[in-house]
C-alpha cells in the first residue's frame, strides 16, 4: 500500500465525520410540538383540537397573559383526516412524540371509541403510555380552559392524573390499558372524567348576571376537575360514576393508592375521624356453586389516623377495634356502590369475568358473560388495619374537657 494511497484513505475517513448528516432531517423550528389532543364529533365528522406548544413563549418566562400554547383544530371524516386538516392552518407540522394527554369528547365516547382509538394505537410517534381521559361535554372546552399554575393545560391535566393519589377518586388510564380492556374478554373499560368549570363544583352556581357573559366574550374556564369516571360497555360510554363509586371500583382493581376516608368517631358521636389510605389489596375468587357462578371479593387495606375532630382519644384497644370496623364498613359501602352500578349497567368494569375466565376456562367458553354478569352473586369482605396515629398521640383537648 503506497503512502499516497494511505493518505487518500485517511482523507476519506476524516471527511466521513464532516460530511455525514441527515438529509431527511426536520429542523426543530419546522415542527410544532403537539402536547394535547382532543377529539370531538360534529355530526358525522370528527373535529380534533390540538394544543401546540410555542417554544418562544415558553422560554420567555413572563410573556404576559398570552398562554404559551396555541389551540388549533381540524375537521374530517376520520380522525386522521382531521389531524391532517390542521396542516392547512398551522405553518409547522405537528409532532406527536411529546403528546401528554388525549381528551375524548363525550359525544365521541357515546358513539364508540374504536374508530378513534385505532389511529392512536398505530401511530409511529404516539405512545401507548399516553394518558386518555373522557370529557364531560366537549373536549374543546377542556383544552381551551386556562387553569393556573401550569401554563400548558395538557401538562396540567397529565399532572392531575399523576396526583390523583391525593384522593383516588379517578382512575389513571393509558392508551395501552384502554386497548387491553377493549380487546380482552371479561373486563370492560373505564376512563377518568374531566370537566371544565367556571368555579369549583362545590360552590353554589354563580348567578349569570347580565354583565360579563352578555358581552359575548366568553372567558375561558379556569377550573379543571378530574373526578369520577365514565363507564363503557364495549367501546361506548353508557354512564358516569361519582367519586365514591369510582373509588369502589378502584378498591376492587387494587388501584387505590392514597386518599381519605372519613368515619364517625366511635368514642364521640358527631365528630369525625379522617383515615388516610396507605395500601390496598384485593383478591377476587370466583367459585361455582350448583352450576352457578358466585364471586368473593376480599379487600384489605391499611390506614393512618391523620385527623380527629373530637376531643376524646381513640387509641384504646376497644375503640380502635370499633374504628377498624367502621373503616371496613366504609370500604364495603363504596365497593357495593360500584358493584351495583356495574350490574345495573350490565357491564363488567370490575374485571371479575377475567378471573372467571382464568379459573374456569372450560366453563367460560360456554357462558355469555355479558348476559350473565348482572345476575352473578358477589360477596364482599373487607378488612381494615389502622396504624398508630402520625406524629401526635392524643387529640387537642381544651382544659374544660380534660379529666382531672
Amino acid at each position: 500500500m503506497s503512502a499516497a494511497y494511505k493518505k487518500f484513505l485517511l482523507l476519506v475517513l476524516i471527511s466521513i465525520i464532516f460530511l455525514s448528516g441527515c438529509w431527511d432531517r426536520k429542523e426543530i423550528n419546522q415542527i410544532g410540538f403537539a402536547v394535547g389532543l382532543g377529539i370531538d364529533k360534529d355530526g358525522d365528522d370528527y373535529q380534533i383540537i390540538t394544543q401546540m406548544a410555542l417554544p418562544a413563549l415558553l422560554e420567555g418566562g413572563g410573556g404576559g397573559d398570552e398562554p404559551p400554547v396555541w389551540v388549533v383544530g381540524g375537521k374530517g371524516r376520520t380522525v386522521f383526516e382531521a389531524i391532517r386538516d390542521v396542516n392547512t392552518r398551522s405553518a409547522r407540522r405537528p409532532f406527536w412524540g411529546h403528546l401528554n394527554v388525549i381528551v375524548i369528547g363525550e359525544e365521541v365516547a357515546k358513539d364508540g371509541l374504536i374508530p378513534v382509538i385505532d389511529l392512536l394505537s398505530r401511530g409511529q410517534e404516539l405512545r401507548r403510555s399516553n394518558y386518555i381521559v373522557v370529557a364531560q361535554g366537549k373536549a374543546r372546552d377542556i383544552l381551551q380552559a386556562q387553569p393556573k399554575l401550569e401554563s400548558i393545560n395538557a401538562i396540567f391535566i397529565s399532572q392531575l392524573i399523576e396526583n390523583r393519589t391525593g384522593q383516588s377518586v379517578a382512575p389513571a388510564v393509558t392508551i395501552n390499558d384502554l386497548l387491553i380492556t377493549l380487546s380482552s374478554s371479561g373486563i370492560e373499560s373505564v376512563l377518568p372524567r374531566i370537566s371544565a368549570l367556571g368555579q369549583e363544583s362545590f360552590l353554589p352556581p354563580k348567578k349569570e348576571a347580565g354583565g360579563d357573559s352578555q358581552e359575548g366574550e366568553e372567558k375561558p374556564k379556569e377550573i379543571l376537575e378530574l373526578r369520577g369516571a365514565g363507564i363503557f360497555k364495549n367501546d361506548k360510554l353508557i354512564d358516569w360514576m361519582d367519586e365514591e363509586t369510582t373509588r369502589g371500583h378502584l378498591w376492587v382493581r387494587e388501584k387505590v393508592n392514597g386518599g381519605i376516608i372519613v368515619v364517625e368517631s366511635p368514642s364521640e358521636p358527631g365528630t369525625n375521624i379522617s383515615l388516610e389510605i396507605k395500601s390496598n389489596k384485593s383478591k377476587i375468587t370466583p367459585r361455582v356453586e350448583n352450576g352457578k357462578i358466585a364471586i368473593d371479593i376480599n379487600i384489605s387495606s391499611t390506614f393512618n389516623l391523620v385527623e380527629n375532630t373530637g376531643f376524646v382519644s381513640v387509641e384504646s384497644e376497644a375503640t380502635m377495634q370499633d374504628l377498624r370496623q367502621r373503616a371496613s364498613e366504609a370500604i364495603r359501602r363504596e365497593v357495593n356502590k360500584a358493584i351495583k352500578k356495574a350490574q345495573e349497567n350490565k357491564t363488567d368494569i370490575l374485571g371479575l369475568g377475567e378471573h372467571v375466565r382464568v379459573q374456569y376456562p372450560e366453563m367460560w367458553r360456554e357462558i355469555q358473560w355479558s348476559e350473565l354478569f348482572h345476575t352473578v352473586e358477589i360477596r364482599v369482605n373487607t378488612e381494615a388495619v389502622i396504624q398508630e396515629a402520625a406524629m401526635t398521640l392524643k387529640p387537642i383537648t381544651p382544659p374544660s374537657q380534660r379529666s382531672k
Binding site: 405512545r127 386497548l179 380482552s184
Partner: protein
Amino acid sequence: MIKRGTISPRQVFFILIMLLTGIYILILPRHMVTMVGTDGWLVLLVGGLVSSLMLFFINRISRKFPGKTVVEFAPVVMGPFLGKILGGILVVYYTFLAAVSLRIFAEMLKSVLLSDTPRWVVVLALVALITWIVQNGLEDIARFTELLAPIILLLLIAALLGDLRYMEAIRLRPMFQTEPFSLLEGFISSLSYFGIIIVLLMLYPYVNAPKKLTITSLLALAFAVIITMGFFMGTVATFGIYETGRMAWPVIELVKMVRVGEFLERVESLFLSVWLSIAFINVSVLAFCSVSGWTQLINAENYRKLTYPIMPLPLILKSLAQRFIGCLRLIQVEFYLWFRYYANNTAFHICS
C-alpha cells in the same frame, strides 16, 4: 490450506447468544401468541430443552473430526455423494438464512432510521459492508461480537425491567388451554427458532479450546432460552395476548413503554440501535458460514475470492421479497425450512 483464525470459547458463547436471541426476537411474541396463546413460554422451554440435546450431538460429532467443519467431514461419514449433498443442503441453508437476515436488517434500518432513503441504497451499502467484514475473517467478527454482546444483553434485560410496572400476572393466564395440534406447531416453531445453533458445526474448527465448547454452548443456549421466555412473558403480561397478536413489532412496542422514574423514557431509539447491532452480528456470522461453506464444498483454495460471487445473492432475493409483507412471509418459510434441516441433521447424527 489457508491459515484459519482462532476464536475463544467465550467468543463462541457470545456469538451463539446473539444468533439465538437474534433477529426474530422482535416478532417472536406475536408469532408464539398467534399459535399457542399464553403457552408460548412452555413451548419455548421445551424447544430449548430438545435443542440442548441436539447441541450435545453437535459437540460429539464435531469433536470426532477435529479441525473439520461439517461440510468437510460429512463426505467421510456418509460417503462422497451423500456427504456432498448434505453439505450442500447445509450451505444453501446458511446462505438462505444470511440473505433473509440481511433483508430484514435492511428493511428495519430503512423503516426505522432511513425511511426516505431508496431501498437499493440501503441494501447495497449493507452488502458492501458485510462483504468487507467476511473478507476480514471470523476472528474480527468474533471480536466485535465479544465487545458488543455484553452491552446488548444488559440493555435487553434493562428494557424488560423497565416495563415491570405495566405487567400483570393475570394476563399470562389461563395456562395450558391450547389444542394439542397448535401446541405441536408452536413447538416446531420454537425448535426451528433455536435450531440456528447448527451454525456451531461451521465454527468448531476455529475454536482454540474445543473441549470447553460443550459447556459453553449449553450455557449460551440456556441464556438465550431465558431471554426469549422473558421477552415473551414480558410482552404478554404487558399487552395481553389479543393486543400482542395485533402488533407488528411487539417488542418494540414494549420498549416504547419503558419508563424509569420520571426522566428516563423514550428509549426505543437506543434499543433499535442495539437490535441493529444484533442483526449486524447475525448477518456477519451467517454470511461467513455461507461463504466458507461454499469454499469447502467446492474445495476452493481461498474463501475470499468466493465472497464476491456469493454476497450479491441478497440483491437477487430482493426481487423475491419485493415488499415488506413478503419479507414476513419468507420468515415463515424459513421457520419451516429450519425445522426440516433440523430433523435431517438429527437423523444424520443418530446414524453416525
